[in-house]
């Protein structure tokens, strides 16, 4: 939840880490956020980092505490190993949580990214990080094309809705309760 603030400074971190490796071993680090090929992966990494420590982990924690203990006792009696217990009990029992996280993260991912892009790359280099939310901001509030930007928001909505319906239809299969 403090992710946003740290993200504001993260561009410097992601530059600092490989620079250290380069100094020691002579590796050539990519130009992370200033290279058009590396800018998108850099933002993905940062977004991933921020998402891992956010609500998702707490959701899994809640899910874990809801897995009935009897299941593990039964598995112990049947002589199941650690991995077997995880694969056959924990993971299937967490399916609803996983489904919820997948659906919400996809929705958030499609609409999000604005903070990172605005603060670190401003859509560049060569438009490589211009995500939809940033494009909408640019069109509406920097260029004043409010009508056009509104149209783009509705296509974004249609996209989110379509992907969510797809997730709902095909993801639900793996949720067995």
């Amino acid at each position: 939840m403090v992710g946003l603030f740290v993200l504001l400074g993260f561009s410097r971190v992601i530059n600092a880490l490989p620079a250290m490796a380069a100094a020691d071993g002579g590796l050539q680090p990519p130009e992370w956020i200033t290279d058009a090929n590396w800018a998108k992966p850099s933002l993905m990494l940062m977004g991933f980092w921020a998402a891992v420590g956010s609500n998702n982990m707490l959701l899994y924690l809640a899910g874990l505490s809801n897995v009935p203990g009897e299941l593990y006792e039964a598995a112990d009696i049947d002589g199941a190993g650690r991995f077997g217990k995880f694969w056959n009990i924990t993971w299937p029992q967490l399916a609803p949580v996983t489904f919820f996280i997948v659906v919400m993260s996809v929705i958030g991912g499609l609409q999000g990214g604005f903070e990172m892009v605005k603060t670190m790359t401003n859509g560049g280099p060569r438009e490589s990080t211009s995500v939809l939310s940033f494009y909408i901001y640019q069109q509406a509030f920097e260029l004043g094309r409010l009508g056009y930007a509104s149209a783009v928001t509705w296509t974004l909505f249609a996209l989110v809705l379509a992907v969510t319906l797809f997730n709902w239809k095909f993801g639900n299969r793996y949720v067995n309760d």
Partner: protein, 307 residues
């Protein structure tokens, strides 16, 4: 593992299953535990490292920021003093930096939004959960369906409303659109539905008005829900970026996230001062998290189970 090597017990049935079960050996347990902790430690380090770097860098002089060592050679408090204008009076580089003011703005706006949102949401939730009126559930469903619209879709119409109300570049323009929340209403309504009806009836027999029922019975019993909503709203608005960026034009009205863009401006990248600014900005949320951790976790889980 080792349990599978046990020969089948001729007695068969349930006793066989029991006989096969053996406590995992101590070595087994130890190995498992150390592997687990190794992985967890690595994961935790990955998550924490950027924070560590942030705090360490906030104490460095600018020339050391890109150096190999993560540790400052000398611990400086100057970066923090700069934020409040100490020692850089008249320095053209810091003209327009009003960190203290931005901090105050952020807290104020987040506080105002939270207060209003909890108030309107609880009133609306009471109406949807407890009062009888024609078409109530249909209206609720319509209200709820606005949650599906992405915030971006409503951003532009909201902006135009703010222009016609003359509220661009005001605090009211930041607070008012956020004063109502379908999510908050939904959350509190679910809470209020779980409060037994018999309490309402008892209050009515005692001659309590609807307002007293709301204020003295329902509201105190909805406390966990209210606290959850308060935390969510406060955190969400304290770090909100898009809307303030769109609304605010004058520097002294900036909130913290918008204000932090100052360090990325043409005056050059003062990474060390930026890190000091971010470290201070994060403090209230860390405090809030430490104090209200249990409530927060419960709230997130509540949203997930219901969602």
């Amino acid at each position: 593992m080792s349990t599978t090597e046990t020969p089948p017990n001729p007695n068969g049935g349930g006793t066989r299953r029991l006989a096969e079960y053996r406590e995992p050996s101590r070595l087994d347990k130890l190995l498992g535990a150390s592997a687990l902790h190794l992985v967890l430690t690595l994961a935790a380090l990955t998550l924490v490292l950027p924070f560590v770097w942030m705090v360490l860098t906030s104490f460095m002089p600018l020339v050391e920021v890109d150096a190999e060592s993560w540790l400052p050679t000398r611990w400086l408090w100057e970066n923090y003093q700069v934020l409040f204008g100490v020692g850089v009076e008249g320095d053209i580089q810091y003209r327009g930096l009003q960190y203290g003011r931005w901090y105050w703005n952020s807290l104020l706006v987040a506080f105002a939004v939270t207060l209003l949102q909890v108030l309107t949401s609880s009133l609306a939730a009471f109406s949807f959960a407890r009062l009888e009126w024609a078409g109530r559930d249909k209206v609720f469903l319509m209200y709820l369906s606005t949650m599906m619209l992405p915030g971006l879709v409503m951003m532009i119409p909201n902006y135009q409303i703010m222009i016609s109300l003359g509220l661009v570049d005001t605090y009211a323009g930041l607070v008012l659109p956020a004063a109502f929340s379908a999510f908050g209403t939904f959350l509190l309504r679910q809470f209020m539905l779980s409060i037994p009806r018999s309490l309402d009836e008892a209050a009515e027999i005692d001659g309590a008005s609807k307002w007293r029922l709301f204020w003295d019975v329902i509201l105190p019993l909805s406390r966990p829900g209210l606290i959850t909503l308060t935390i969510f709203t406060f955190i969400g608005n304290y770090q909100s970026f898009f809307w303030p960026l769109v609304m605010l034009k004058s520097t002294h009205k900036y909130t913290l996230p918008v204000g932090l863009l100052f360090f990325d401006s043409s005056q050059g990248q003062q990474t060390n001062v930026l890190m000091a600014a971010i470290t201070l900005s994060v403090l209230p949320m860390i405090l809030l998290f430490v104090v209200l951790q249990k409530q927060l976790v419960k709230g997130i889980q509540l949203g997930a189970v219901k969602g």
